[in-house]
Symmetry: C2
């Protein structure tokens, strides 16, 4: 007899980190409910493709894709406004990069919690990563802890949803190694901030990904237009 499985909502962008998150949630015994958020980012078509492919591979029955393109109306980020340029990678940058979408994670976690409360999920997984990230303020332990308190007090008393960020303190190298160990199909994921057919290889996201694969000693299976040797 099959046990009733516990459910987790996974914020699944289609990127490498969310794919590793999904693999971890499965390993921990969760039935996955995959939530894709279209926030009007330049790369949405490509990301949605990855979301669909990953959902098929992971045999996810419960999936939801929502449109929050109001982020394009709000603007303020190179990911959602075409009049702000995508910066080239800079591992030593001291300021928050132009790709920062103001308070984005609060928005997407809120959507995930709303859905989790309706379907009775016990956890929400997010692929946030503070160590090898671009320095976004909404990707920190402090922010996620504060948000957990908001979840606890802002949902019904009988609702208990745990906000889980399993990659938070991992390096990209660790994420690649963990994903590889769990058989994550990296070839289906998409991380680049540009909207070209091939990953650009030079934006923050490509650079962090390529450096992670390099340090893990694994070849990144997706095609790049330029593939610098980040160390």
């Amino acid at each position: 007899m099959k046990n009733i499985e516990k459910t987790a909502v996974i914020l699944m962008s289609g990127g490498m980190d969310s794919a590793v998150c999904a693999a971890i949630a499965k390993t921990e015994g969760y039935e996955i409910a995959a939530l894709h958020i279209n926030y009007g980012q330049r790369t949405e078509t490509r990301e949605y493709q990855s979301f669909v492919s990953l959902s098929t591979i992971y045999k996810i029955k419960h999936k939801l894709s929502v449109d929050v393109s109001y982020f394009s109306q709000i603007g303020g980020s190179s990911l959602t406004s075409t009049d702000i340029e995508i910066e080239s990678a800079d591992f030593d940058r001291k300021v928050i990069p132009a790709s920062y979408v103001p308070f984005r994670n609060a928005n997407i976690i809120s959507i995930g919690i709303s859905w989790a409360e309706v379907i009775g999920a016990e956890a929400l997984f997010i692929g946030a990563n503070q160590l090898d990230s671009s320095g976004y303020p909404d990707c920190t332990r402090q922010f996620l802890d504060a948000f957990q308190s908001a979840i606890d007090s802002g949902t019904k008393p009988e609702t208990n949803i745990k906000l889980i960020a399993p990659l938070l303190d991992m390096t990209k190298k660790d994420i690649v190694l963990t994903g590889a160990g769990l058989g994550v199909p990296f070839e289906l994921t998409w991380s680049c901030y540009s909207d070209n057919a091939l990953a650009c290889g030079v934006c923050d996201s490509c650079a962090l990904r390529l450096r992670g694969f390099h340090q893990a000693g694994i070849e990144d299976p997706i095609p790049y237009s330029i593939k610098p040797n980040y160390k």
Copy 2:
């Protein structure tokens, strides 16, 4: 010479509470940036009308209306799902009513904070009310305090946005009296949960509003199809 004014984003549904909030913010010297959220609620057309009328009256230049109708996809509330009935009012109800939209305020506050961060606003006003409300968990001091921490840690270090809920501990009577004192055009506001031409008079929202006006000794200027005498 005109001083540079400080700006506050006001979550302006078009209801009585948000109109009073706007009036309070103006009194406190804020330039208003009005944010209307269409979350796929049954009464959106009527609420949007109120938002536009109020924006005109208050001479608001900076306004934004965003569509987050994903709440209809998520469901779970009588306000967004036509297969869940609008309950009649019950002041002694001990459970959270069917109108509760799961974690709604976290979603709409997050949108407001994203916009506030982009336009450099110093405050976000929300008309949440815990005393004479329907018992929603995301309308409590505890929730708003936790959310303030999430704002502080999840936005840029140089961003300082205060989450202000001036009506939180007021009764509806107090809100009516405060609004009347500030000349709020109550005839332009809309509170009813049903989508009829006249306010129904029997849903939670109508009942709380009518009782508030009654207790304040002021006549509610909007037309009702039924107007019970709540005391």
